[in-house]
């Protein structure tokens, strides 16, 4: 079957620390840098957990202690590579039927690290649209998120 695959979103940044520290900050320290405007928990974000193993869970814990799934760890290869199964819909709600991939690589550049992020399989958003369609229209859906996003940048 032919499907239209949108091109993956590819981004990169260079950070001043070596790959092992960049990898640790990205994973273990995710809750310290993740923008609080992009939280699934209704009570706001307390921490983000990326379990340090392939097959591990990836979730957020809200201020009221509620755990909200984000996806899974598909590949755990510190300090060079991390692949996450991103299961959050466009409305930032966990959808067990949605699978998109976020691959992050950490390459040494001088004394720093080049961090490259690729978010792919975006065509799967189309297949999961049925489950998320109603969320888009909700008060906390897409429009609200776009508003929050605009304020954050």
């Amino acid at each position: 079957m032919t499907t239209i695959a949108p091109a993956p979103v590819v981004k990169s940044v260079t950070v001043p620390c070596p790959p092992d520290r960049a990898f640790r900050l990205f994973t273990e320290g995710m809750g310290t840098w993740w923008l609080p405007s992009h939280s699934v928990a209704k009570s706001g974000q307390d921490k983000v957990v990326v379990e340090p193993a392939s097959g591990g869970a990836w979730y957020e814990i809200g201020k009221e202690g509620v755990r909200c799934e984000w996806g899974r760890v598909l590949v755990w290869e510190p300090p060079g590579r991390l692949v996450l199964d991103w299961q959050l819909s466009a409305a930032f709600a966990f959808d067990p039927n949605l699978h998109t991939e976020v691959e992050v690589t950490f390459t040494p550049v001088g004394t720093g690290t080049r961090v490259r992020l690729e978010h792919r399989k975006l065509e799967n958003y189309g297949a999961a649209a049925g489950q998320v369609a109603q969320v888009f229209d909700s008060e906390n859906g897409w429009s609200a998120l776009l508003g929050a996003f605009a304020q954050a940048v």
Partner: protein
Amino acid sequence: MTDITALSALADPTRRRVFERLAEGPASVAEITRGLTVSQPAVSQHLKVLREAGLVTGTAKGASTIYRIDPAGLGPLRAWIDRFWDAQLEAFRKAAEAEEKKP
């Protein structure tokens, strides 16, 4: 919003098949119907939804209309994800710089 319509338009399995048929190449309503088990009016209705969602475009050719994929259909969502990671990686970079400055 366009984003919502584009995604929900593809939720219907038949409509997705119409969309996938057009991914193979431009076609008229009659040509699309030939490969499916639904009636021509039903296909026309699906095309109308896909067109309103910005996923396909139609151009008149003689007596019939030729439909084709609008490659920008999933564009708004992709553009949003693009900006999203821009902001997140910028936040990550700042955090890494702050950590490096720690004694």
